[in-house]
Amino acid sequence: MFDLYLDYIDRWSHGLWLTASMSTLSVLIGFLVALPIGFVRSRAKGPLAWLAIAYVNLFRGMPLLVLMFLVYYGFGQFNSELRAMGLWWFFRDAYFCGMLALVLNTSAYQAEIIRGSLDTISTSVIETNAALNLTRWTAFRRVLLPIAFAKALPPLGNEYILMVKATSLLAIITVFDLMGEARTIFSETLDLGVYYVAAIHYLVLVLAIEWTLRRVEARFKWMA
């Protein structure tokens, strides 16, 4: 098994890098997308709220793998139209398509996490904002957002870890992440031990993230 690792160390490192970077980037971009959606879900009524619900239900209701197929193969059918719109460079690339699918998926989940934490902010905080005459923006940016973020941190960390593992689906749309590299190494060696090596990679990556998250959470000591 050590041979499987050492002989292919370049590929493993590349796969690890891709898995770590794509999951991290998708979670970060997903957070930025989820923020306004979660806020609308928590506070708004009417058409905007319906749009937010539709977004969440659509991308949460679809398996990630199906979403990847739709984006990568499905959009590929419209290649002439996409070329005309100047978007083909994006949709012909499995990495970009994979990234888009990951972002759509995780942003739907994260929007619900953010909505939940905004919803649990007590009315006394809102009343205090009013009594202190804070503007809407200040109340959101300086009070609601930091409190909601601290509350959301544990479930967001959970979502991050889920995403790390979900990226293994990328291998199926030809991305050479950890799982993608593992599959090619297997096809050359026909040694099932390859998948143990892959599993250990995932485990170590997740543990490292868990350790980091614990540090970050500890910084919010005022939550006590």
């Binding site: 009594a131 202190l132 005459n133 300086r142 009070v143 409190i147 919010f220 000591k221 005022w222 939550m223």
Partner: protein, 247 residues
């Protein structure tokens, strides 16, 4: 010339749905006057003072705060809230900000004060409530009484014309109660217009100019503390006082 009242209620009515919470409230509070509002729970005393800074809306009647009539216009509400400070039963400090940051938040972002000046002012008021040594602490690191004193400093920072206290000591242990009441008494000596909902009868006796007794949404009796405590003119206030003394 008599200066106009700080706050006046004229035939003010409020309903929660069908429930009539405030019934024909008439009350004038002079500048610099200290009012204690008391009464059994559910009598509408908190609701009454929460109308003053529009945490509650009234349905009929007039409410004039510092010569500005309360209405639904956001700019009016902002103008009035700018002159009214409020302390809550559960302090309501922002948990993610230090004592100092709690005080400077609205100075910096709502009143556009330069941060340095805001800090200076906040430290002044924290010193006044004897909390300047705790400026960098988070609320979770402070006792209840300390938190309430910071909350008082936070309200004072906006230099309000009127201070509202909504049962500021009901969530505190006896020791903390006296440290908060001391700060409030200091404020009263300084000439601040104050309306306090409280069951601290000792405080009412010592500090209040008038006591307002409410029951079932009505103002039953308004009297100076001496008269109110020794010879209440109304049977309902007498019964309430009995209960408080005997408990």
């Amino acid at each position: 010339m008599v200066s106009p009242p700080a706050i006046s209620f004229e035939k003010l009515n409020k309903y929660y749905g069908k429930f009539h919470v405030l019934k024909d409230i008439d009350l004038e509070v002079a500048k610099g006057e200290r009012i204690v509002v008391c009464g059994p729970s559910g009598s509408g005393k908190s609701t009454l003072i929460r109308c003053i800074n529009r945490l509650e809306t009234h349905q009929s009647g007039r409410l004039i705060v510092d010569q500005c009539e309360m209405n639904n216009t956001p700019s009016t509400v902002r103008r009035i809230r700018d002159r009214v400070g409020m302390c809550f039963q559960h302090f309501n400090l922002y948990p993610h900000l230090t004592a100092l940051e709690n005080c400077t938040l609205s100075l910096i972002y709502t009143r556009k004060m330069p941060p340095k000046e805001a800090k200076q002012r906040a430290m002044e008021y924290l010193a006044r409530v004897r909390m300047d040594g705790f400026a960098q602490k988070y609320p979770s690191q402070l006792s209840g009484g300390q938190q309430q004193r910071v909350a008082i400093a936070r309200s004072l920072c906006i230099q309000p014309e009127v201070m509202l206290f909504d049962e500021p000591t009901s969530a505190l242990d006896p020791e903390s109660i006296s440290e908060v009441l001391d700060v409030m008494a200091d404020l009263a000596i300084g000439g601040m217009t104050m309306i306090c909902v409280t069951h601290e009868m000792g405080f009412a006796r010592k500090v209040a100019d008038r006591v307002v007794f409410m029951d079932a949404g009505e103002i039953v009796e308004i009297a100076d503390p001496e008269t109110f405590f020794t010879s209440p003119s109304h049977e309902r206030s007498a019964r309430f006082l009995q209960q408080i003394i005997n408990h």
